[in-house]
């Protein structure tokens, strides 16, 4: 083949430029650690990266939402534990003071203690997480339970004391894409006996009034209601516990799914450091060889010998 000078220079320019561009690609892969910078680098992987990234964000959001819901349920469970303890103490007093051997002043002291227990229960039920009341259903902006209300004769009003201002709403949280889980305790069911149970707070008010009236038989009559109330609270706690377990599992599953997505994104888009370092070394060698060859080829001209 006839080799002309223009051809020599043109080929030198083409070869050096392509060797340099390969080295530039290899350098950018090593320095950025990424092998995908544009959709055109790998169209299928680029689409998947977008998908996986959004999936990862979704699972992160679910994990954080489920985590917070679980914290809130734990707070509700703590409040119900306080209620449970107070109910046990009320039952103890009712059993003790329904016995005729106790005096009127013993019962009066008991009445004061029971009134105090009602306040304790109400304040536990008005627990807030953040700025919301956890036992109010969807009416979470105002305290769901009223405190102790006494009538003109000094008796505790069983209708107004512990009145429920919330609703029957149940909060739900997304625990997997498109899957919702109940994450609130129906305080109206557990404490107010909605749906056929015992109205625990009214029973406590009746107990306080019976003790004030020094009526052992009436005191004894509240025992059934108190026992049923304890059962209701225990049921609510076990539901809450199961929900916390579900949420914990959801948090773990979402975190695992998010980690998987991260791993897949990395597999699709991140450069293999060893591979890219060796690519870079190869590209450097190629560029050096190309420059050397071009430099050598320019040396030989008849001009140097005439």
């Amino acid at each position: 083949m006839r080799v002309t000078d223009a051809m020599l220079y043109e080929r030198a320019a083409q070869d050096c430029s392509s060797a340099r561009s390969r080295m530039d690609e290899a350098t950018s892969e090593v320095s950025s650690g990424k092998k995908l910078s544009q959709p055109g680098d790998d169209p299928a992987a680029s689409g998947l990266v977008v998908l996986e990234q959004m999936r990862k964000n979704q699972f992160d959001a679910i994990a954080s939402a489920a985590g917070r819901a679980s914290d809130e349920l734990s707070a509700a469970d703590g409040a119900l534990n306080t209620v449970d303890n107070a109910l046990s103490r009320a039952r103890e007093l009712a059993v003790q003071l329904s016995n005729g051997t106790y005096s009127a002043s013993d019962r009066a002291a008991g009445a004061a203690e029971v009134t105090g227990l009602i306040s304790t229960i109400v304040s536990a039920l008005n627990t807030q997480v953040g700025n919301r009341y956890v036992f109010g259903g969807t009416q979470d902006g105002t305290a769901p339970f009223s405190g102790v209300v006494t009538d003109t004769s000094g008796n505790v009003d069983p209708a107004l004391t512990g009145a429920y201002h919330g609703d029957a709403g149940v909060r739900q949280v997304e625990i997997a894409p498109g899957v919702l889980q109940d994450v609130s305790v129906r305080a109206d069911v557990a404490l107010k006996g909605v749906g056929g149970g015992s109205d625990v707070l009214a029973t406590l008010a009746n107990l306080a009034n019976a003790l004030t009236a020094n009526d052992p038989a009436a005191v004894g009559a509240t025992l059934d209601g108190l026992t049923q109330g304890t059962t209701q609270v225990a049921t609510a706690r076990s539901v809450a516990g199961a929900d916390v377990d579900t949420l914990t599992a959801a948090v773990n599953a979402s975190q695992a799914a998010s980690a998987d997505a991260t791993k897949r994104i990395s597999g699709l888009a991140d450069a293999d450091p060893i591979q890219s370092a060796s690519d870079l070394a190869a590209a450097q060698t190629a560029l050096q060889a190309s420059l050397t060859a071009v430099g050598e080829s320019f040396k030989f001209s008849l001009l140097n010998y005439l």
Partner: protein, 463 residues
């Protein structure tokens, strides 16, 4: 009969021939770095007829027969279309490569904005009445709308950038077409004298090459020795001595982007050229337009889905929800999409609850969350659609790049072959120069010797 004067005469014309050879060699050397230059060769021949003396012919030296270009017609015929193809695919590839709006890993992209919107809703579901969370959900919706606007804006900007480049290229094409037409005329005039105007041919070839790169125009040689140029579809850019005028005209049917029209022979027609112009058009009205339209569809469907759910809920005051996103038409949806101004001003208007629910009722937020996996008109959910838009754009960009590499390799191969056939080799020219020098010296020696012969002759004294 042969005489010494005749020898002097033929030596003089032979010296002329060698001078012409030296001049051509030096012209070649001087143009060794001139683009489009084809090396020239002097062909020297014996002066005819030889003189008949008695019954023998005595030669009369040498003379220049012609000075011709060395060109390989077979190669040159393939070059214009190779130039056109390579410029076209390279223009498409580099235009698409310069667009970074759809880069898969760029943070703050549309994908992040969509998931950011749903993450904010997911937080809002925790405490629907909280003003802070409502505000951040509205902000996330605004970020999403802005992200749609920006992504579409960046793609549209790339299309507008193509328009600007088109205008520049069109002016260049018109200049070059004029040049070719006028060179056709000059070459005709020069050839009338009988000789080949090599340097004019080079200049025309150079202009034809550039036109092939810019517009994909293919040359057709005419019987008069002119070169006419035709765009794809047979639109005549140059016919012999007349050049058409290409113009870039806004096309209302294509969002005001520029379309190309050629005016030739009093006829104005739409043309779709090849070359760089064609490559730019194919990027602008191909992958970029598809991506813009897909984004519009996504914005329209997505806001429709979210709005339907949002309007089914009630806000903090128990009033029915308003549309969350305001989008009026499918065409340009991604550019128009914005958060309803009333909701943006008052996050309490977010319809988080179902009718009858309290302020903490987040059931409608949960319904909104479900739109994340709702299938849109393309049969995919929002993330799937976005992923598909990215892949489709990437696939076009990748195939344009591959095509450009292949076309570029063919063009480089052919130009190398042309450089091999027509380029100047300095070594070769130096050798030719040496050869000419030797011949020149030899002929000078002839003159010297003839002169000596004359002197000898003149010094003969009568006895």
């Amino acid at each position: 009969m042969s005489d010494l004067f005749r020898i002097l005469g033929s030596a003089a014309s032979s010296l002329d021939a060698q001078t012409a050879a030296a001049a051509t060699t030096s012209h070649n050397l001087e143009n060794s770095n001139t683009p489009g230059y084809a090396r020239q060769r002097v062909s020297i021949e014996t002066t005819l007829p030889a003189e008949e003396v008695g019954n023998v012919y005595i030669g009369q030296g040498a003379q220049v027969a012609s000075v011709t270009q060395v060109r390989d017609g077979f190669l040159e015929a393939q070059l214009p279309s190779a130039f056109g193809q390579a410029s076209s695919s390279s223009a498409t590839a580099s235009t698409l490569q310069a667009v970074d709006a759809l880069d898969p890993q760029a943070s703050g992209g549309l994908g992040d904005a969509v998931s950011g919107f749903y993450a904010a809703l997911s937080q809002l579901a925790q405490n629907a009445a909280d003003p802070g969370l409502r505000q951040s959900a509205v902000s996330a919706a605004q970020t999403l709308a802005t992200s749609f606007n920006q992504t579409r804006g960046a793609l549209e900007e790339a299309r507008t950038g193509v328009d600007q480049k088109l205008s520049g290229d069109v002016a260049q094409v018109n200049d070059l077409a004029q040049t070719v037409a006028s060179l056709n005329g000059q070459i005709r005039a020069a050839r009338a004298g009988g000789a080949e105007p090599n340097d004019l041919l080079d200049a025309r070839q150079q202009a034809v090459d550039q036109l092939a790169q810019l517009s994909g125009a293919l040359p057709v040689a005419t019987s008069e020795g002119d070169v006419s140029l035709f765009l794809s579809g047979g639109a005549p850019l140059v016919t012999s001595l007349k050049a058409g005028t290409l113009s870039a005209v806004p096309d209302p049917a294509n969002g005001g982007h520029l379309g190309l029209e050629l005016k030739a022979g009093g006829v104005q027609r739409k043309v779709s050229p090849g070359g760089e112009l064609g490559g730019l058009l194919s990027a602008r009205d191909g992958a970029l337009e598809t991506a813009v339209n897909s984004l519009d569809t996504l914005a329209f469907d997505f806001s429709g889905a979210v709005n339907a759910v949002h309007q089914a809920g009630v806000d903090l005051s128990g009033n029915a929800g308003q549309p969350l996103f305001s989008v009026t038409a499918l065409n340009g949806a991604a550019a128009q999409i914005a958060v309803n101004a009333a909701i943006a001003a008052n996050p309490a208007l977010l319809a988080t609850a179902h009718a009858g629910g309290g302020p903490g009722d987040a059931s409608n937020v949960n319904d909104l969350l479900k739109t994340q996996s709702q299938l849109l008109s393309g049969g995919l959910d929002a993330s799937g659609t976005l992923s598909q838009v990215t892949s489709a754009f990437g696939a076009t960009a990748a195939s344009a790049k591959a095509q450009s590499d292949a076309d570029g390799a063919l063009r480089d191969h052919l130009t190398t072959l042309r450089a091999s056939a027509s380029g100047v080799s300095i070594d070769e020219e130096l050798i030719a120069m040496q050869k000419t020098q030797q011949a020149y010296q030899a002929i000078s020696k002839v003159l010297q010797t003839t002169n000596d012969l004359f002197t000898t002759l003149m010094s003969i004294k009568p006895t």
